[in-house]
Assembly symmetry: C2
C-alpha cells in the first residue's frame, strides 16, 4: 500500500527540520567555539544547508503533496495543524522568485557589513545607500508574500516571526501602552526617588563562581544538563535543538547581576523548547509557536519570576553564599531594588522593564511606516529622534545611540521588533492566569519550588507546540486574547508600591 | 552560454563536500561538547546529512554529467584528477543497491551495539551472530564494488580508505616486516635491558599545565589556532574541517607523556589538512590522499620527529618548565628512553613503534581471509590467538584482550587496518627523503625550527591533495614506491644504537 500524501510530507519535513537542527548546532558553534579563521568556511556550510532546505521546500513535489493532502482531508487536529504549518513554511519559501532571493541575500550581507562600520563611526550616511537598496527589496518581498498570504505587506513580513500576527491587533495593544507609559514612568521615577537607593554588591565576582551560581539556579528552575549546556558568547542567546538546548551568557567580573538575569532569561526560552510535545518532535507543529510567545516564556521567567521579591527571598542567600559575601547589599530588599531599578536610557538592550516597551514601540512605528512607504530610509534618523523624544523624553546625540544601534533592519529583519513587547505583555497575562489558577505557584517560587508554575506552563503553553495560533492559545490559557491589562497591573504593583 | 558538464559537477561536489564538512563539525561536537541526552537527535541529524549527500551522488544526473565530462575530455591535470576522484566517490555510492545499503546500516548498528557489551564481558559468543550477518553483507558489498572497480573484493573495500591500494603490494611490504620484526624485537629487548631504565617524571601534572605545554609545542610546530582548536574527548582524534581543524586529547594527571605525544600525533594530521591545496578547497581533488598517507603525516611528526633525540633536546627544557620541575627524570636522555621504550603487549592502541606493525599484520591477515572466505567469523578467536603467538609471542587470556579489542570489524570496517602500518612505513620513507634533500631539517628540529621540514612536506605531500595516487606521490617524493627499507633502517638506528 502506498503512503498517503500527508505521511510523505511528514517524512519530507522531518528531514527538513533535521537539517535545520544541524544548522542550529553549527550556529551555536560559530558563536561559542569557532576560531575566527573558520568563519568563511562555516558561512559556506550554512549556505549549503540552507540551499538544501530551500530545495526540499520548493521541490514541485512538495507543492503537489500539500495540495493532495489538503484535498484528501480527514486529518485529526494535530496532523491538520501540522499540514497548516507545513504550508506556511512552503508559502514563505515559494513566494519569492530565485532572483529576488539572491538579490536579497546579497543586499543583506552588504548592508550588514556596512552597518558594522557605520555604527562604530556613527555615520548613517555611509550605510544609507545599502539600507535603501535592502528596504526596496524587502518591500518587494512583502508585496509578494502579501498576495499569497492574503494579508497586508507588513503583516506578511511579521508572519515569519509571529505567525498569524496582525498589526491592527498590535496597534491596539501598543496604543494602550503609549497612553499609559509616559505618565506612569514619571510616577515611577518619583516613587523610586523616595525609596532607599539600591546598593551594588562589591566585586570582583570570579567567573567560575558566577557560573556555578547560574548553574545552581538553572537547575533549580528545572534546566536539564543532560539535554543542554551553558557557555559563553559575545551576544547571549538560546540555541541548539530541542534535545540539546544551549544557552550562552557573558560574564563581567565587576557585576554579576546582569549575566545572572540574562542566564535566567535564556533558561525561560530553554524550558519552553524542552517541554515542546515529544510526540511531534521533528514536525512543524511540534515547534515553538512564534517569537512573541517564545519571548513571553523567557520574560515570564526573568521578569515575572526572577526579578520578584519572592524569588529573591529564595535566591539572595544563594547569591551571597556563591561569592562568600555578606552585608546589607546582599539582603533581599536591596537586591530587589537593584533588580527593579528604572533608568530611562537611549539603548534598548540596556533598558529596564518599564522603559523597554517605548524602545520597541518607536521601532514598530518606524518600521511599519518604512514598509508602507510613508517613511523613507533617508528620513530615519530624524524620525527616530523625534519618536524617542515623544516616548522617552530622550534624544540621542548621535545615530550610533539612535537608529544605528540595532542590527535588525540592516540585516533585513522588518517585522521582528514588536515580538519583544508582545512577549512582555503575554508573560504578564500568562503569569497572572497561572497564579490565579494555582495558588501554590507564588509560595513555591519563594522557596525555590518551580514545579507548580512549570506544570501550568507545560499544560497551557509548552505542550501545545504550534497546534494553536498564539491568539487561540492565549484565549484557552488566560480566557481572553492579548491585552495590556495584566502587564499594566504588574508594573503598577511592582514599581509604585 | 551553458556551463560545461565538468563545471556543473564542480558545483555539485562543492555542495556535497560542504555538507560533509558540516557533518564533521557535528561529529566533533558529539565527541567533545554534546550532553549525552543529545545523542539520538544528533544521530538523526547526521543520518539526514548522509542521506542528502548520498542523494546528490546517486542522482542520475550526477552519473550523466560524469559520463559527459569524461567524453568531453581536454581537461588539465588537476581537473582531470578531480573528475577521477568524483567518479571514485560516485562508484562507491552507486555500486550498492538501496536494500543492501539499508541492511548494512542496520547490521552495523546492531553489531556495534552488541560488541560494546561483548567486549565489556569478554563474551565473543554473544556477538558472533551479529558479526556473521555483518560479514556476509560486507562480502556482498565487496563483490559488488569489485565488479565496478575491477579489483579483488578485498581491494574494493580497501579502496574506500586507501584509494588504489592493492593487497599484493601490501603483502610484499608486510612480508618484509614479518621476516624482520620477530628477531629484531628480541635484539631490541636485549639492548634495552642493558641500558639504564627510563625514569618516569613524578606528577601530579595539572591539566591546565599539560594543556599549556601542548599548545606551546603545537604552536612551535606551526598549528594555527586561528584555524583550529585543542579540546578533550574520550578517544583522541583530528576532526573539523580544513579551515577549522579540531584536535582532541585526554589528560591523565599522573602521566603527561602519553597525552602530549597524542597531541603531537594529531598535530601531524592537522598540518596535513591545513596545507592542502587552497585552490582546490571544496573539491574532491583537494582532499587528503587517503588514510595511509594521512597516518604517515601524523606518524612522521610523532615518531620520526617528536620521539627523536633531536626534538627532545628542544622540548625537554620546555616540559620541565611547564611543570616547574627539575632533576634527572627531566633530562633529554631519560625522556628519550621513556619515549622509545619497547614493551610487547596484547593491546594495539598501547603498542610502541616496534611492536605496532605486528598488531596490524595480525589483523590484516585475518581480515583478508574473512573476505576471501578462508576464515569464518566463528573461527576468529582461535585464529587471532595463533597469529598473536606467532608474531608477538603473546597469547591473550580472553577475547576482550584479543579479537574483541578493536571496534573496526564490528562496525563493518574491513580494509582499514593496514593503513596504520602503511602510514608508519611511508613516514619513515618520506622523512628519510626529506632529511636527505635538505640538511637543515634535522638541526632545525633540535632547536625547535620546523620550517625546513614543513616546507618539504608542503611541497612534496600536502600541496598535492589527491592529484596523484599514493604510489605516484611516493615515487615523486622519495624516488621509489613504498618499501620497508627506510622503516627498518630507522628502527635499527633508534632501537639498537
Amino acid at each position: 500500500m502506498s503512503e498517503s500524501p500527508y505521511r510523505r510530507l511528514e517524512k519530507r519535513f522531518e528531514r527538513l527540520l533535521l537539517l535545520h537542527d544541524a544548522a542550529a548546532v553549527l550556529h551555536w558553534d560559530w558563536a561559542t567555539m569557532m576560531p575566527r579563521g573558520g568563519a568563511q568556511a562555516r558561512s559556506d556550510q550554512l549556505a549549503a544547508l540552507k540551499a538544501v532546505q530551500h530545495g526540499i521546500l520548493t521541490d514541485p513535489e512538495t507543492g503537489d503533496l500539500l495540495q493532495a493532502a489538503g484535498a484528501e482531508g480527514g486529518l485529526d487536529a494535530w496532523p491538520a495543524a501540522n499540514l497548516r504549518e507545513m504550508r506556511r513554511l512552503w508559502v514563505h519559501a515559494t513566494a519569492l522568485t530565485e532572483d529576488l532571493v539572491h538579490a536579497l541575500s546579497k543586499a543583506q550581507s552588504a548592508c550588514e557589513t556596512a552597518w558594522r562600520t557605520a555604527r562604530a563611526e556613527s555615520d548613517f550616511a555611509s550605510v544609507l545607500g545599502h539600507l535603501e537598496t535592502l528596504l526596496a527589496l524587502v518591500r518587494e518581498v512583502a508585496a509578494a508574500k502579501s498576495g499569497t498570504l492574503g494579508v497586508s505587506p507588513y503583516d506578511a513580513l511579521l508572519d515569519e516571526y509571529e505567525p498569524d500576527g496582525r498589526s491592527d491587533e498590535i496597534d491596539a495593544v501598543f496604543r494602550e501602552l503609549e497612553d499609559f507609559l509616559p505618565q506612569f514612568l514619571g510616577e515611577v521615577m518619583e516613587h523610586q526617588a523616595r525609596e532607599p537607593a539600591a546598593a551594588a554588591p562589591e566585586g570582583p565576582f570570579p567567573v567560575d563562581r558566577q557560573r556555578a551560581l547560574a548553574v545552581r539556579l538553572m537547575e533549580a528552575l528545572g534546566f536539564d544538563f543532560d539535554h543542554g549546556r551553558l557557555d559563553v558568547s559575545l551576544h547571549p542567546f538560546c540555541g541548539g535543538t530541542v534535545d540539546d538546548v544551549r544557552i550562552t551568557t557573558r560574564y563581567d567580573e565587576s557585576d554579576f547581576t546582569s549575566s545572572l538575569m540574562g542566564v535566567l532569561h535564556e533558561t525561560g526560552h530553554a524550558l519552553y523548547e524542552r517541554a515542546l510535545p515529544a510526540a511531534w518532535r521533528g514536525q512543524p507543529v511540534g515547534l515553538a509557536r512564534g517569537m512573541g510567545l517564545h519571548e513571553s516564556q523567557s520574560l515570564l521567567i526573568e521578569m515575572q519570576v526572577c526579578r520578584s521579591q519572592g524569588f529573591l527571598t529564595f535566591a539572595a542567600p544563594l547569591m551571597a553564599e556563591a561569592f562568600g559575601a555578606a552585608g546589607p547589599a546582599w539582603e533581599t530588599d536591596n537586591l530587589y531594588r537593584l533588580y527593579t531599578r528604572v533608568a530611562p536610557s537611549l539603548i534598548r538592550v540596556d533598558a529596564d522593564e518599564v522603559t523597554y516597551p517605548a524602545h520597541v514601540i518607536v521601532r514598530y512605528r518606524l518600521e511599519t511606516a518604512m514598509i508602507t512607504g510613508d517613511l523613507r530610509a533617508a528620513d530615519l534618523p530624524g524620525a527616530w529622534n523625534d519618536a524617542m523624544g515623544d516616548l522617552l523624553g530622550l534624544t540621542p546625540d548621535n545615530d550610533a545611540d539612535g537608529c544605528l544601534q540595532d542590527q535588525h533592519w540592516y540585516d533585513g529583519a522588518w517585522g521582528y521588533f514588536p515580538t519583544y513587547t508582545l512577549g512582555a505583555i503575554a508573560a504578564a497575562q500568562l503569569f497572572d492566569a497561572a497564579t490565579k489558577a494555582d495558588s501554590a505557584i507564588r509560595p513555591g517560587i519563594a522557596r525555590g519550588d518551580f514545579k507548580p508554575l512549570l506544570g501550568w506552563l507545560a499544560d497551557n503553553v509548552h505542550s501545545k507546540g504550534s497546534l494553536l495560533s498564539t491568539r487561540d492559545l492565549l484565549v484557552q490559557a488566560t480566557g481572553r486574547p492579548l491585552d495590556a491589562g495584566a502587564f499594566k497591573a504588574h508594573l503598577k504593583r511592582r514599581y509604585l508600591s
